[in-house]
């Protein structure tokens, strides 16, 4: 152990703060706070650190960027655009790129960090979903996460619209078209958003305010809440040895976790700088200034808006005109429904799952994806749905790169966007159950050792050995399904939870959740695992 007293300077500072805030109790309690270790627990940190990078680089960019749509004639150092009329926003972005030292680097880092911010949130959410880490008591943090992703989409859209280049103007044009299609108030929203007709002169300054002030402040608040809740509730843990619902096992915050997360902070900065230095992003000087009559093939939004773009592309041209009014289903449905299903579904899922399973307990140890087949399969179906729409957003690039007919790609996505999730659900569930069966086998039968034995009668058999202790803990972390009491008991009295149509639905869903569960449990020697599988869901484990 080290010295008994810390150096004077530190002691002095701590004393100063403690006497005014009474902070030492807090520090004392938290300095050794335990953080369980797993690589996937760091995905969320990418988002946190990217956000810090975004704040820093964004501040740098505001020092030169002029959020103005007043027309100027360019006479800067990018020769190919000299003499071209453009907005001040575009002009100042060119200035940042070509005349401010490090400006291009900061622009690129800012944009790459935005892409990583959104990508890491999504990756983090997938990890949380597939391990069941959103369950009670963490539903609030799950909702905050969904909120941050949604705000991030807006923030990104507004951000890449600011330079007022041809690509971003096209994005705004589409945004305008979608706003205009809203029933009843669409044209009003359009006029109020743009301060008149598209493009007008107001939209860039307005988006600028939202992009640098309002939305970042909201996200910052949500990040803070997210972190404080996480800290207070303690992180979930993977179902490994020493991790139980009552205790968490891992490295202390100080010094190990602090150093690890510090290293990861630096890695995130490093990777973003690497991308900013060696991979060009959003070369607005190649796109040219916005011009309502111009357009490029392969006009795509940034990846996180790709889903919306894809949905817009594959939607059939349904429009209803009646009683002097027009309802643009061809725009409204793709703009609202797919993301509504994915985000709304994600937000409701923890509550739906708790309702269906009747599980109101707190969970701190994660589930292995295979041990919750319905959840995992639903997740994969959502991933497939999202992924297909996302690809559909790039269907022209796909058609061009792979030399297939453009309309064929549209039809392909029109069909697979419905079939794909279904297939993904079935296949994933089968895989999960297969893995459960394997686990049951490992526990019941042991692991194949590769040692062949010959019995006195001359029969050959392979020796099976008990799995390692660590492996056993992981496998036995499965909580076997507990089928509910039947909807009606012997006398025909309905169970309290299954009354009414809602209760009926609930008990049906509950059965769907549990009916093909394969119990994994330790048997006394001599028991065949085959029996265990056959006896199926009758087995109850407490």
């Amino acid at each position: 152990m080290s010295q008994a007293t810390p150096p004077k300077a530190i002691e002095g500072t701590l004393g100063f703060i403690d006497e005014r805030l009474g902070s030492t109790t807090f520090f004392r309690r938290n300095v050794k706070k335990v953080f369980p270790d797993h690589w996937s627990f760091m995905l969320g940190e990418i988002a946190l650190y990217s956000f810090i990078i975004l704040l820093l680089t964004g501040t740098f960019l505001t020092l030169w960027f002029k959020p103005s749509m007043v027309e100027v004639v360019y006479d800067g150092s990018y020769t190919k655009l000299q003499g071209v009329k453009m907005s001040e926003a575009y002009d100042s972005t060119l200035h940042i790129s070509f005349d401010v030292r490090g400006g291009l680097l900061m622009r690129q880092i800012h944009h790459w960090a935005a892409i990583l911010f959104m990508a890491s949130i999504l990756a983090h959410m997938l990890r949380v979903f597939f391990t069941g880490a959103y369950r009670k008591p963490r539903e609030l943090n799950w909702l905050i996460g969904i909120g941050m992703f949604t705000l991030g989409m807006l923030e990104g859209l507004f951000g890449y619209s600011l330079p007022d280049d041809l690509l971003s103007g096209t994005g705004l044009r589409i945004t305008q078209g979608v706003a205009e299609s809203i029933p009843l108030v669409g044209t009003y929203i359009y006029m109020f958003l743009f301060g008149g007709e598209f493009p007008g002169q107001d939209i860039v300054p307005r988006l600028y305010m939202l992009h640098i002030l309002l939305i970042p402040a909201l996200i910052l608040g949500m990040v803070t809440a997210h972190m404080m809740i996480m800290w207070h509730q303690k992180h979930t843990a993977m179902p490994v040895k020493n991790q139980t619902e009552q205790q968490v096992y891992g490295y202390p915050f100080y010094p190990v976790f602090m150093a690890k997360t510090g290293a990861y902070f630096l890695f995130t900065f490093g990777v973003v700088a690497l991308l900013g230095a060696f991979a060009q992003i959003n070369p607005i000087w190649l796109f040219g200034p916005y011009d309502p009559g111009a357009i490029s093939s392969g006009s795509q939004p940034d990846w996180y808006m790709g889903v919306l773009e894809g949905a817009l592309r594959i939607m059939p041209n349904w429009e209803i005109t009646a009683w002097g009014h027009t309802l643009s289903l061809n725009v409204l449905i793709p703009a609202a429904v797919p993301l509504g299903i994915v985000f709304g579904g994600a937000a409701a899922w923890p509550f739906i799952e708790a309702w269906v399973t009747g599980d109101k307990r707190q969970h701190h140890v994660n589930t292995r994806p295979r041990n919750a087949p319905v959840r995992t399969a639903t997740g994969m179906a959502a991933v497939t749905f999202y992924g297909l729409l996302w690809l559909a957003g790039a269907n022209d690039v796909l058609a061009e790169r792979f030399h297939v007919s453009l309309f064929a790609t549209t039809w392909f996505f029109r069909v697979t966007v419905f079939l794909g999730p279904l297939i993904a659900f079935i296949v994933t569930k089968r895989i999960c159950l297969g893995l459960q069966r394997k686990d049951a086998d490992t526990i019941g039968h042991g692991v194949e050792s590769g040692v062949i034995l010959m019995s006195p009668e001359g029969r050959f058999s392979e020796r099976h050995e008990a799995p390692r202790e660590e492996e056993k803990t992981v496998i036995l972390s499965k909580e076997n399904a507990r089928p509910e009491a039947p909807a009606r008991d012997a006398e025909g009295i309905p169970a309290p939870g299954s009354k009414g149509p809602l209760g009926h639905l609930r008990s049906r869903l509950n059965r769907a959740w549990t009916f093909d569960d394969i119990p994994v449990e330790e048997h006394e020697h001599g028991h065949s695992d085959q029996k265990a599988i056959e006896s199926g869901s009758e087995q109850v484990k407490h």
């Binding site: 805030l21 009474g22 902070s23 109790t25 309690r29 050794k32 027309e71 990018y78 020769t79 490090g102 680097l105 690129q108 096209t170 044009r173 305008q176 078209g177 979608v178 205009e180 299609s181 044209t187 009003y188 006029m191 958003l193 007709e197 598209f198 107001d202 619902e245 205790q247 968490v248 096992y249 891992g250 490295y251 202390p252 190990v256 690890k260 290293a263 630096l266 900065f269 490093g270 690497l274 230095a277 060696f278 916005y290 011009d291 309502p292 009559g293 357009i295 773009e309 817009l312 592309r313 059939p316 041209n317 429009e319 005109t321 002097g324 643009s328 061809n330 725009v331 707190q362 022209d396």
Partner: protein
């Protein structure tokens, strides 16, 4: 491991060391967290908590230090390049110098961060000997007693304030608050004008009216970008396509309005082979020998529908692939757009192609009042 699990948030029992714990304002709940060194059967990852070999620690220290030195060198290089080299010949200007600057500044910055990250990682992995420890998780909810006490306090407060007893107070308070909440919405009214009939006409209408006031038949079409008025003979090649605007839109519209007017008036002029062309009913004289003009603003969400294939006579919008048939009044043949592109009535005057009226329907995406 602690066995008194019933000690929960807010309870004022003796702390772990028998001392009373004081609540720190602004900190998370004082749920007791007791760090215990792992005992007996804790199978830590290999190497953890071991007494490390002095020699290998020394080696690790040297490796980490090397990485830190690399990081130092890279940041110094960053600063040195910025101060000493990037500003030569009057500063950074143009593509070539921007490329050089991005390469060196970005490269040294990335190297610095990554070297430091690698150094810290090796430090944690090879030099820190903290063992993994176990901590209890606590019930987050307060116990029954505390809840009941709080409910009691809450009700007492409500009672005391009188809000339950005096409905008049309660209702007038709500009444007072409601318009106050609406007030900010009123402030947003001046964000923009009301739609009125703005979306129903384009600059073509204005330009045609002006031309007709001067006794002309209509307004000339000029090429977008060069402002050259087009004669019929100029545009005689079958399979031709060009983007046009009404003459005068650049000069006569107030500067800040040019793009906005452009955005609605932009039109594509196509020379469809006369034998393939099927003019729509009532529009028989809207074309000039197969030269036909459609709005370039897609009826889906407004991208320029500009991609014309002269073999199939398809007009394709590159954003969402709505496809229109140029020979058949721009009827939709594929994609998400629901309505054909509006057609501009054309005629000839002094050999020039002219538009004789505005579009007869609103251009661009559909909207609720469109009808």
């Amino acid at each position: 491991m602690s066995d008194d699990k019933n000690e929960t948030e807010g309870a004022q029992g003796p702390g772990e060391d028998g001392r009373r714990r004081e609540r720190v304002i602004g900190t998370p709940s004082p749920a007791r967290e007791k760090a215990l060194l792992a005992e007996d059967d804790i199978s830590a990852p290999a190497g953890v908590g071991e007494q490390l070999d002095e020699a290998s620690m020394k080696r690790a220290e040297r490796i980490v230090a090397t990485f830190f030195l690399v990081a130092f060198a890279a940041s110094v290089a960053f600063i040195a390049y910025f101060i000493g080299w990037s500003g030569r010949d009057g500063g950074m200007h143009g593509v070539v110098r921007a490329r050089e600057s991005n390469f060196w500044l970005g490269g040294t910055m990335a190297l610095s961060f990554i070297a430091m990250a690698v150094g810290v990682t090796i430090w944690v992995r090879r030099l820190m000997t903290s063992k993994p420890i176990v901590q209890e998780r606590h019930e987050l909810a307060a116990d029954e007693e505390t809840r009941a006490a709080f409910a009691q306090d809450f009700l007492e407060g409500a009672e005391d304030s009188g809000i339950t007893k005096r409905p008049l107070l309660r209702r007038t308070l709500l009444l007072a608050a409601a318009p106050l909440g609406l007030a900010p919405l009123v402030l947003l009214r001046d964000l923009g004008p009301l739609p009125e009939k703005r979306l129903r006409h384009t600059y073509w209408g204005e330009a045609v009216k002006k031309a007709q006031a001067e006794g002309k038949k209509g307004v000339r079409l000029v090429v977008d970008g060069t402002n050259k008025p087009l004669r019929v003979s100029d545009f005689s090649s079958p399979g031709g396509m060009i983007t046009v605007l009404p003459e005068g839109i650049e000069e006569e519209v107030p500067e800040e309005q040019v793009l906005t007017q452009n955005a609605k008036a932009v039109t594509i002029l196509i020379n469809v082979p006369a034998d393939k062309f099927k003019p729509a009913k009532g529009r028989e004289n809207w074309h000039v020998n197969g030269i036909v003009a459609y709005s370039k603003v897609c009826t889906h969400v407004g991208c320029p529908a500009a991609l014309y294939e002269q073999t199939t006579h398809h007009i394709l919008c590159p954003c969402h692939q709505s496809t229109f048939d140029a020979t058949d009044a721009a009827k939709v043949i594929f994609g998400p757009a629901a309505r054909p592109l509006p057609q501009l009535p054309l005629s000839v005057e002094d050999g020039y192609i002219v538009a004789t009226s505005d579009y007869h329907e609103p251009v661009g995406p559909s909207f609720w009042e469109r009808g």
